[in-house]
């Protein structure tokens, strides 16, 4: 048995406002994750309050810049650095921005890397 889960689609412009609403209602940021779907990237922001699980879903194009939610939920910096380094999502104003040095990966953005990228990449600095 898994609890009821709600998913709400949000646009890039309404993201910060909606996340801010969740914060003011006392929701806990559970996780942020990224799914590469060919020509789009799906980002799920998950929240919990009293075991009620709610997802905000943002869909962006590769290379499209989004705003960081770490100014609202400080702990989001870890998830956002991860998304930036593993998926190449461009995120503006992360409160603790590692600028590519959070993970030590041999291949840049390995979760969206093609086989050609992997052959050509000699490792990042």
């Amino acid at each position: 048995m898994i609890e009821e889960q709600t998913t709400i689609a949000v646009g890039k412009d309404e993201l910060l406002g909606t996340v801010s609403d969740f914060h003011s209602q006392g929701y806990r940021l559970v996780q942020i994750c990224c799914t590469a779907l060919g020509d789009t990237i799906e980002i799920n922001y998950s929240f919990d309050k009293d075991y009620r699980f709610t997802n905000l879903r943002l869909t962006v194009k590769p290379g499209e810049e989004i705003q960081s939610v770490s100014i609202i939920y400080w702990s989001a910096f870890a998830y956002e650095n991860e998304m930036s380094e593993l998926f190449g999502v461009k995120i503006r104003n992360i409160v603790v921005d590692y600028k590519g040095h959070f993970y030590r990966t041999a291949v840049a953005t390995p979760f969206v890397a093609t086989e050609t990228d992997e052959k050509n990449d000699t490792g990042k600095e």
């Binding site: 898994i2 559970v30 997802n55 939920y73 400080w74 603790v96 993970y103 030590r104």
Partner: protein
């Protein structure tokens, strides 16, 4: 203002069984900032899902961590079962609960040992790990493995535990519980232990909640959040309340884990008494299509599995948010303002599992 120095902590350090690196920015003996970096042993298991059959991937999920391996497999199975609309037999749910709680007991005993080792109490370390061996013997007798159980599969479990064996397990746990109580009394009452852990690494409940902290670290700050209350597996039929402590310091985190050991033993007893007869698995055919988030309370806290499937044998996306990853911001926060001498104890009481982070 004093001169600032950066002290590298890890990736190799006596208190770290696994590699994580922290740059500790210090002023005299005080940490003013801690900057973690990870990825030394990152395995890219999330990416591997694109090449493995979704049923075989249970084995990979179990290998994310060598301590809560069963719970990783179970959370993955739960997520796929939900996507595929599979109803798991009740007996299998109870068996999963028993193995999950055994995992918690051995994890907490292992942690207590490591904590004792970190503050220099070698005999206490040895005693905790000796007690843990008794739990591992039960796990080995019922699953065939000590680290990787291999007993969970999509649709149920692979092995059953017969009534007599279950009764024997409960009796053995009662005997071990008495020994555990004798050893854990040292953690709770010994002057030296209290001196090293009390009022060290304090985090308030509000802070812990705001930082997205999970597990014993959150509950030690007074927040009663335990993912088992969602009611997955057989937990909806068992009576328990989250173990909560108020002081939010290293000793509170230690007390939560000690009390949770006894809670887990009680839950195993309840599960053994209520376990119904019947099948332990259903046949699974076809391929999953859809998506789901699955949550389980591991020894270190709530783990989240996300699976997204498109009707093929390979999942489109598999994502794990492990409790240690969620506790990373809290660790950074607690270290700020701490004394250099307290850093090892603070890191250990957060109980980071680097294998889990480096999934």
């Amino acid at each position: 203002m004093s001169q600032r120095n950066v002290i590298p902590f890890g990736p190799q350090h006596p208190v770290l069984p696994e590699p994580i690196h922290l740059d500790l920015v210090t002023e005299d003996e005080t940490v003013v900032e801690a900057i973690p970096s990870i990825g030394f042993v990152h395995r890219g298991l999330e990416k591997l899902v694109e090449k493995k059959d979704y049923q075989d991937f249970v084995y990979v999920a179990e290998r994310i961590c060598g301590i809560c391996s069963f719970m990783h497999g179970m959370t993955y199975c739960q997520a796929v079962e939900e996507v595929m609309g599979i109803t798991v037999p009740e007996r299998a749910l109870y068996l999963r609960t028993v193995w999950a709680e055994l995992s918690r007991v051995h994890s907490h005993l292992m942690w207590l040992g490591l904590a004792a080792d970190a503050f220099g109490f070698e005999s206490l370390f040895m005693n905790c790990w000796k007690l843990r061996e008794g739990i591992l013997d039960i796990i080995e007798a019922t699953t065939g493995g000590r680290v990787i159980f291999g007993s969970c599969k999509i649709g149920g479990v692979r092995r059953d535990i017969d009534g007599d064996t279950m009764k024997g397990i409960v009796e053995k746990l009662d005997r071990i519980a008495a020994e555990i109580r004798h050893t854990t009394d040292v953690f709770l009452n010994d002057y030296s232990v209290q001196h090293r852990l009390k009022e060290v690494g304090v985090m308030s409940g509000e802070e812990a909640y705001a930082l997205g902290t999970v597990g014993p670290v959150l509950r030690a700050s007074g927040v009663a959040m335990d993912a088992r209350k969602i009611g997955y597996a057989a937990y909806r039929n068992l009576k328990f309340e989250p173990v909560v402590e108020k002081s939010g310091d290293c000793h509170a985190r230690c007390r939560v884990r000690v009390r949770e050991i006894f809670q887990s033993i009680d839950l195993i007893g309840q599960a053994a008494r209520k376990m119904p007869e019947g099948e332990i698995a259903v046949k699974v055919t076809g391929s999953p299509s859809g998506e789901c988030f699955s949550r389980v309370e591991q020894p270190r806290g709530e783990v989240i599995y996300y699976v997204k499937a498109n009707g093929t044998k390979n999942l489109q996306r598999f994502r794990v948010r492990t409790p240690t990853f969620a506790n990373l911001p809290a660790m950074v926060r607690i270290l700020k303002g701490a004394s250099i001498a307290d850093v090892p104890n603070i890191i250990l009481t957060v109980d980071p599992c680097i294998s889990c982070i480096e999934r």
